[in-house]
């Protein structure tokens, strides 16, 4: 097993555990309020996720996979609005993307 991968996993895993467990011990009000730290904590998650949405979709858009991309994105949004489930939206969007890709190959 690569030492690089193991160290990376341990660093990220330790941080994940600290993020999930730490605030349950420190304060039930952690992350609340309107100070700079609260705003930073509040913004970092959405910023990270938005970044990854764009970073993962951009190569597909540049590769001109437009129809499957629109089908996939629209399905994710529609399923999310309908069921409010990350799992259902993810699986349904992937299915729509696959079907649109398949229909474009015939």
């Amino acid at each position: 097993m690569s030492l690089h991968i193991l160290i990376l996993a341990l660093m990220v895993g330790a941080a994940n555990w600290a993020f999930r467990y730490g605030p349950t011990r420190l304060s039930r009000g952690a992350g609340q309020g309107t100070g700079p730290l609260a705003r930073f904590l509040s913004a970092t998650g959405p910023a990270a996720i938005a970044t990854l949405v764009v970073a993962s979709l951009l190569p597909m858009a540049l590769a001109a996979q437009v129809v499957p991309l629109i089908a996939g994105v629209a399905s994710v949004v529609a399923l999310w609005l309908w069921r409010r489930s990350v799992v259902i939206a993810t699986l349904g969007g992937s299915l729509a993307y696959a079907l649109a890709t398949m229909s474009g190959t015939f």
Binding site: L8, A9, A48, L57, T101
Partner: protein, 230 residues
């Protein structure tokens, strides 16, 4: 009520999550071995990190040769949102809130587990740590099992199934987009817009890794500088 019943209830509540996690984890296992990782390394990432979107991104960072600290910072920043889950869950639990064994069950507080726990409490279930253990364990085991099956199937397992491959290729962007929708609030729209624009600019001007860093930093800074309620 004994501690067994809420534990079993937690496992039952975890079933829909487990059914959803398995194929996503399978896709991760396939992607990991396809990217050159061994099955053991793929399993270790799921066991130790246990955060789907981060794990997919870890593959991209590892294969692109990103420096260890840059990769770690990027992945850790992505999961910072989890600090809000514990306090939010305990706040909704009210008088029933207990943290004696939180060092263990809090490990399972993923986006979906947090959402499911919050939903159960909203529907009248009394918070209990055994329930949280059951809920978290069901999801975790499914994630690990999916990873193992995907990794053992191997990166070339879907070579003859291009449609399935296409669906799995889109699973990561779909997961990111779903997560974004799940945390989307009106005050965060400027943060998301700044992060998205900076990502496009950084990616087109420099590289994909630079775009990711630029997006995360620009978005977080925009949110910190923003006046008013977070």
């Amino acid at each position: 009520m004994s501690d067994e019943a809420p534990f079993r209830s937690g496992l039952v509540t975890a079933l829909p999550i487990a059914m959803g996690y398995f194929p996503i984890a399978f896709a991760f296992g396939v992607a990991a071995t396809g990217a050159g990782l061994s099955a053991v390394e793929a399993f270790a990432l799921s066991l130790i990190i246990y955060a789907g979107a981060s794990q997919f991104l870890a593959l991209a960072l590892i294969t692109s040769g990103a420096p260890l600290l840059v990769a770690a910072f990027t992945l850790i920043a992505m999961n910072l949102r989890h600090v809000l889950y514990g306090p939010a869950l305990l706040k909704s639990a009210g008088d029933a809130a207990s943290t004696r064994h939180a060092w263990a069950w809090a490990w399972g507080l993923t986006d979906e587990v947090f959402g499911a726990a919050l939903g159960e409490i909203a529907r009248g279930r009394r918070f209990s740590e055994p329930f949280m253990f059951g809920l978290g364990l069901g999801a975790y085991v499914s994630w690990l099992a999916g990873t193992v099956v995907g990794a053992l199937a191997g990166g070339g397992a879907l070579a003859g199934w291009p449609t399935v491959q296409a669906g799995l290729d889109f699973m990561l962007p779909a997961l990111f987009l779903s997560l974004l929708l799940s945390i989307l609030t009106r005050p965060q729209v400027p943060v998301i817009a700044v992060a998205g624009l900076a990502t496009v600019a950084g990616t087109l001007a420099v590289s994909g890794t630079a775009g990711i860093l630029a997006g995360m930093i620009a978005g977080a800074v925009a949110g910190t500088l923003r006046r008013g309620r977070a």
